[in-house]
């Protein structure tokens, strides 16, 4: 009896200790903007939770957006931006190492826009057909069944690969991957074919940067960006 109690105590203590280690996860990204219906699934079997701005995303969280919905998030190591459009399902994956995160976004369906400015750590976008490794700054990923995956290069370079081959995507080009057994095909983007994240309010962003030089002279630089 005493032995059973001792073993039981070890099991309980072990579970309490190992459990948190197994299940402990650190924040990988922060949600900045939410519109419409956006849910998060913490595990494959958990029930969905609604998310609000400021929500902390951990490894393995799955985001699902509904019709006319949208969510924007940033990774905490390099502030890289991901915007997920309507009717999309994505899983956020990442591994922290030193001061950077090796990031992977698994796109099961839908459209995401990605902008990386000061890249730290590897950044990948994976779909059922292919994996894109980011070497540049901005691109769009659109995966729909059964059509396949489209990648649209906005800025920088993207390397797309699967078992059938590898291709490099530059700004102004479109890559199409029909299936995991079909090599990526790259061509020039046709005007109007790029998906737009239409469900987001378009705000004419204007921001200004005022600087004063050492002589006291002030100048203001103004930037206007159409925010989508």
């Amino acid at each position: 009896m005493r032995t059973i109690k001792t073993i039981s105590a070890f099991i309980i203590i072990g579970a309490l200790t190992i459990g948190p280690i197994v299940h402990s996860a650190e924040t990988l990204a922060i949600i900045l903007k939410v519109k419409g219906s956006v849910s998060v699934y913490k595990t494959n079997t958990s029930s969905p939770e609604n998310v609000k701005r400021g929500y902390r995303l951990e490894e393995g969280y799955k985001l699902v957006t509904g019709d006319k919905s949208f969510v924007a998030l940033r990774f905490i190591d390099d502030a890289s931006l991901v915007r997920i459009g309507a009717n999309s399902t994505c899983t956020i994956q990442g591994k922290k190492e030193n001061n950077q995160i090796f990031k992977n976004i698994m796109v099961e369906a839908g459209t995401i826009f990605t902008r990386i400015t000061n890249q730290k750590g590897q950044f990948q976008v994976a779909t059922p057909t292919s994996v894109a490794s980011v070497k540049g700054t901005e691109f769009i990923t659109d995966h729909q069944e059964p059509q396949g995956t489209y990648y649209y290069g906005e800025e920088g370079v993207l390397e797309i690969s699967n078992d059938a081959g590898t291709a490099t995507l530059n700004a102004g080009e479109t890559a199409y991957v029909a299936s995991e057994n079909t090599a990526p095909v790259v061509r020039k983007t046709i005007e109007g074919e790029k998906p737009t994240l239409e469900d987001i309010d378009e705000i004419e962003d204007e921001f200004e940067f005022e600087f004063e030089n050492e002589n006291g002279q002030k100048k203001t630089l103004k930037f206007k960006v159409i925010k989508k």
């Binding site: 900045l32 609000k52 701005r53 902390r56 905490i76 190591d77 922290k96 200004e208 002279q217």
Partner: protein
Amino acid sequence: MNLCRSILVFTLMISVNIAKANPSSFEHAVPTGIIRGEKAHIEVLSIDMNPSIHDMRVFYRELGEGNYKQVVMKQDGFIYSADINTTNTTTGQIEYYIAYEGRLGKIGTLPEVNPQLNPYILRIAPAKTPQQYADFEIVILSPMPDEVLTDDEVVIAASVLGGESQIDFTLSKLYIDEVDVSPIADFSGGIITYVPERLRMGRRNIKLQLFNNAGELIMEKEWGFRVITREVGVVGLNVNGSFFLDDRYQNIAESEDNFFRGGGHISGNLHNLDFYSRVQISSEETDEQQAVNRFTGELQYNITDRSNIYLHGGDYIPYYNPLVFQDKRIRGLQAGFALGFFTLDYILGQTYRGVEGSFNFSDTLQTNGTYSEDIMAIRPGFRFGDNVRWNLNLVNSKQDEHSIEYGGNVKEALIVGTDLSMNFDNRRILFEASIQASIKNSDAGGPEVDFQDLVEIDSSLADNSLAEQAFDLLKSTDFLSTTGGLNVHPSLAMQFDLQLRYLNNNLKLTYLNIPSEFESPGNPYLLKDISGFYLTDNIRLLRNQMFLNLFFKNYTNNLADDTYSTKNLEYGTTLSYFPFRNLPSLTLGYMKHTRDNAISGQDTAQYNYLYMEDNATQRFSVASSYNLRIKKISNTLSVNFSKYIRDDVANPEGQSDFNSLTVSLRSRFPFPLTTTLSYSQSGTAYGDTSETTTDIDKWNFRLDYRLSNLFGRDVLRPFINLSFQDIQSEFTSTGLTSTTRNNYSCGLAYQTSSYGIFTLRFDQINYTVADEEVTNRIINARYEIHF
């Protein structure tokens, strides 16, 4: 709340008195106890009956540098102040002087004599800057700097990945517009997040401070963003602005006065059109001095991100390059455009308005007034990408002899020149050059003359065809009056600056040649009558734990006459050490400055021996600071010691020996209270037999408190500053004299997120003059709101 605002405004609208004119006088003390990384607060208190000071500026440079940088002093009633950032200083000493435009448009300085050569010395105790403590960075997640967000979508977030173990998040702070929101922010997991429900429209400021468990600030980041309402974002009109009221009551030498100022600004944009407007009204405005009121309007239409057309009207300060136009306020019009690689700027206005002089018929003594001065400038330019800019300029200024009745000689000037700036390799290579030629007429009010008349005055013009062509050109274009005061010999000024930043070195080389005859009506503060070069190098060593500064200057002033031209040689070095461990930081410095000219003590011709220069000044300095934590109080102890030795062969009575010791203790308490206690003692002995001595003892105590969220999202910052100074001077002729000077200041600033900032300040200065005690009192109240 509207009633409260009205009462506040009414209370501040006190009746106006206009005081009699008097020369300006100031109170200024060099700040003590400054620790590297802090802002050095330079303050000047005007105790004049009618100060009428415009555009007061601090000119400063680190020890060893050639060029002075400048910062405009903010006017808060009759207290002028500016902050100098000491984060990047490595030599432990900043040289500075203060320049201002006085009531009649004349330039004044503090110190009053040769400020560029004898500036104030600001001593800075060495200390690690927050960035040197930490090997991680704050990554801003939201909002990005200068981003525009609607008021219902703001998320404030930042991360410190890799730095979690170094940070004590319970001590760390997050401020929004100076309001502490740390208690309701989330600091867990190395990520700081705060989601306000709604933020007021306008420009907002975020400050994040991270402390370690020793209470030391190890990382700080500050950035701004803008909030708009969703409706405004759709319409396309963005507006922001400010409004202020300022009142000062003073009792100076038992004479009471009151002064009032009010004004504001509005700026914004509508699609591609940017606009800006500013108004300032003052009770000091009078025809007896230069304008104090300010009226400004600006419009700019942006065709593309690099091309635009603009128009400025009213009061503005244009900038060309330091030899031509800098810091000079103009009332008039400025128009121009930038289209692709070509730019053009045109200025037409007035730099001074006429202020009448006077004539005393009883003693026939005339006091000259100030002529109105008109100015015209044109500047075409060429841009080659972002790396090269080349400009040409022509500036013409003329005084109007008919603007006043009693005045001196009427002056005119013409400046023609060019400047070039280049940068390469991500601004690691910077090169700037400016060459300007000026011609002036120092008596344009006389009768018109021919070129032959000028030859009779100046025989060197004979057979000088170029000079005659220049004369004919001036006559035909009317840029300058062709009267007897015209000097057709152009005065050529030039300056070249090269900066190289490679291999942990920051090497700067400057060559300049600015004759005393060079006329620059657009830059009243230009240092003239100097020629030579400066070389300085800042070297980073041991992973930024150590900084070595080396400088060498070789220049000549008093250039006009070879007999009196004075050679200057300055060289020196400072070494600063900031150990990563919690050890004291240390700065050691040495410099030597020699001056001599060709005059000997036996040269009695024209009393030349009185102008003999042969002296050398050596300066040794040691400074150190140490952080220590006692219970929960974070303390910084700093010590500064300087010794100056001046040997003067030409004037033995000018020899001096100066010692200065400053000890300062800064304490930060676990509640938001900061105190600073400093003691400084200096002693000077003059003359080769040290017959004259001056000893100064000074105590300074300052207390700053911060109360947040008293009535919601607000902050109250009261402060007290006490200064006690005892000056003992002993002269062989008069014996020992003793004077005291005590300053008492207190005040508060109350800032709310919705209703602006209200500040109140009281200053009392007690000093003895000839055994008589004098007391001056000043009360300042100010209200300011930004929207």
